[in-house]
């Protein structure tokens, strides 16, 4: 049922290159009093008043005025920017911080985040599919630091068919999470010890969380062979 | 107390023992062989009872049928049956086996034909009640030394088994 899949409008935050030039890294600007703990652990403080309205350099916001992503300034960002320059952008949205990293930085920046910035806990790895974009997938690593009590996300855009370096060697928990991303999106991870489907049966065709995979679509052939029924619907 | 149907039980038990023995060597499945061996052992225990040796019969059941054969089965069960079934049963030892069987048969026949005179005229009647005590007296009196040697031997076997099975003790 292809008509069920939505025509996605890529969210502004997903555009890695578009507005990048407009907000240059404000490393010189003194940004006081924004402790990491505060930024991440915003309990219910994300009321509309607390977050400033869409700033000038934000990308074209949707019709409704809403809080948009803003540059995120912190010593952590400064350090990383110094290391990686423009390959890395830092944003904050509703009090949640995230990096948009260039695909080429991927295993390296994450290793640095774990080893030098104490992000010792990989909460989740997931992906989002934008079929209309050139680089179809956003791959998202959600990281948490136990010592700092801070949560960040790292996002990278990758093209369909590209393989991503696996982070299993950085966070062992990535093993099943990457398998799930592979299962659902078909993104391959290089260096994964055992990349195979995890939730769907081994012989299944297709990757259901891609947008071009219909909601009631299924691998009829598999169902007929393995379950002996005409269709699972 | 008068024994009941002695002859009948003697032949029944002997027959069972023989049947079990034949099954032990003819079955291809090792577990079946072991089970047939148990049948033989139980029949022998019955024969001991008929000989007024209840203690020996009891020990036969506890040790052989209940203890040793369980361990036998234990080991056999872990061996792949399919493999052992494919193997040839009557292998190169058939000649030796034949010679042994013939020799043993000859001895028995000779005993039956000529030895009758050397045996006591009627079977020994052991008093039933004191059978256990008699065995104890024999073991711990006359054959004390042999008994202790045997138990030492078993101890050595136990230690050896432990050493072989465990690398670190």
């Amino acid at each position: 049922m292809p008509d069920e899949t939505k025509s996605p409008t890529p969210p502004s935050t997903g555009e890695p290159k578009g507005p990048a030039g407009s907000h240059t890294p404000p490393s010189v600007e003194p940004v006081p009093a924004q402790k990491p703990g505060d930024t991440a652990a915003v309990p219910n403080s994300a009321v509309p008043g607390a977050v400033p309205k869409a700033s000038a350099h934000a990308p074209a916001a949707p019709a409704k005025p809403a809080p948009a992503s803003q540059p995120w300034n912190s010593p952590l960002v400064d350090r990383l920017k110094r290391q990686y320059g423009s390959g890395l952008e830092a944003h904050t949205y509703l009090g949640q911080n995230y990096f948009v990293a260039d695909f080429s930085l991927i295993p390296e920046a994450l290793t640095v985040l774990r080893d030098q910035e104490q992000f010792d806990y990989c909460v989740d790895i997931t992906a989002v599919h934008y079929p209309e974009r050139e680089k179809q997938f956003d791959l998202i690593w959600i990281l948490y630091s136990h010592p700092l009590n801070e949560r960040i996300r790292v996002k990278a855009c990758i093209a369909d068919g590209a393989s991503v370096p696996s982070v299993v060697s950085i966070w062992p928990t990535a093993n099943w999470l990457e398998r799930e991303v592979f299962d659902m999106f078909g993104i391959r991870f290089d260096g994964h010890p055992d990349l195979k489907r995890i939730l769907l049966p081994d012989g299944w065709k297709g990757h259901p969380l891609r947008k071009d995979y219909g909601i009631i679509q299924q691998d009829n052939e598999w169902v007929q062979i393995n379950l002996g029924i005409e269709s699972g619907q | 107390m008068q024994p009941v149907a002695t002859t009948f039980f003697f032949y029944l038990l002997s027959g069972l023992a023989l049947l079990g023995g034949v099954l032990v060597i003819t079955r291809r499945n090792a577990v079946h062989s072991a089970l047939a061996l148990i049948l033989t052992l139980l029949a022998l225990a019955g024969l001991y009872l008929m000989l007024y040796a209840p203690f020996v019969a009891g020990v036969q059941i506890i040790l052989y049928a209940g203890g040793i054969m369980v361990l036998f089965l234990f080991v056999i069960m872990l061996v792949s049956i399919e493999q052992s079934q494919k193997q040839e049963q009557f292998n190169q030892f058939w000649l030796i086996g034949l010679i042994a069987a013939v020799a043993l048969g000859g001895m028995f026949t000779g005993m039956y034909v000529k030895g009758a005179a050397r045996l006591p005229q009627h079977a020994l009647r052991l008093p039933e009640q004191s059978n256990t005590q008699q065995i104890a007296l024999m073991l711990y009196g006359n054959y004390m030394f042999a008994f202790e040697i045997a138990s030492l031997l078993l101890l050595v076997a136990i230690i050896g088994a432990v050493v072989m099975a465990k690398r670190k003790i």
Partner: protein, 384 residues
Amino acid sequence: MPEATKYLSHLELGEPDKTFLDSNELIINMGPQHPATHGVLRVILKLDGEKVLGTECVIGYLHRGVEKIAENRTYTMFNPYVDRMDYVAAVSNGLGYCEAVEKLLSIQAPPRANYIRVILTELNRLASHMLWLGTHALDIGAITPLFYTFRDREEILKIFEKYCGARLTTHAFRIGGCQYETYEGFEKDVTNFLKFVAPKIDEYEELLTTNRIWVERTRKVGFISAQDCIALGVTGPVLRASGVKWDLRKAQPYANYSEFDFEIPTGQNGDTYDRYLVRMQEMRQSLRIIEQGVGKIPEGPIMAKVPKVIKPPVGEIYHSIEAPKGELGYFIVSDGSTQPYRLRVRPPSFVNLQALDMMVRGQLVADVIAVIGTLDIVLGEVDR
């Protein structure tokens, strides 16, 4: 079992003890239908005698594609679906989802709703832990605690039923507040329940905590260190039993947990016994939270001002709560329409289950059962 061998071929399995009497490796297929796997979990065990050399979990038997469904439902329509993931802690699931969407909408539930939410969530945590205790004890062979915990869990479910009509898949919360106003006598029911259940928890502990066999079966079984926990992303009581004092209710308070006074119980040894103790303590802490909350429910609306059609602005949000099993996170990408563009659930059971292999290697088959029990997984959440 050639089919099972295929699964294990990649594992770097430990070699069996090389001794004079080498034993054969045995591959055993535990599940998907097995009384101790708590659902349709299939664990393929490679054994040396009774010692576990390696495991492989085969999951997905209960996969319903919740994340795909979410992309095709509106935010409101999807709300009941989350109850079906961790079906023994449906209230927690709902809380996490509602709060995530609220965050995306930049609205906040009113205080009264927050209090009700906390009370119901903590009741749900109690129910979940009780279910865990009963089944865990049953796996280890103690059948009696199961009936005790089910008797007491029943009281919680009755409160849920009176509140929202459902016992298990409650759908108690709405985006922006609570589905229903509390019923007449809600506070009294909860207070009575608190009085009723506190001695019952002592009763469970009496049966198990100092039971020699229980201690022998659980102590030094399924050990996992704090480092390994963090590296494997293990959260919840399992992490706390390894000595990490980390609870999202304290670390990054949501709802109005910051207004409550409670402790985070931790263990030191990271074994099954410590996890048992931690969960027992958590049950008492939950009682404390409910006790504080039930007297203080403020008057006021139970719903924030929420637009009729929920259309969050373009953006993405990750919000996580401390579910009974661990960190339950929702990552929502909105494209400005009425349906989430992408909704990802970070399931604690799924991630915790990954630690099974590490925890049971070198242990005995019976310990696998104990460890599956102590991980407290719900297959509905593992497979989603």
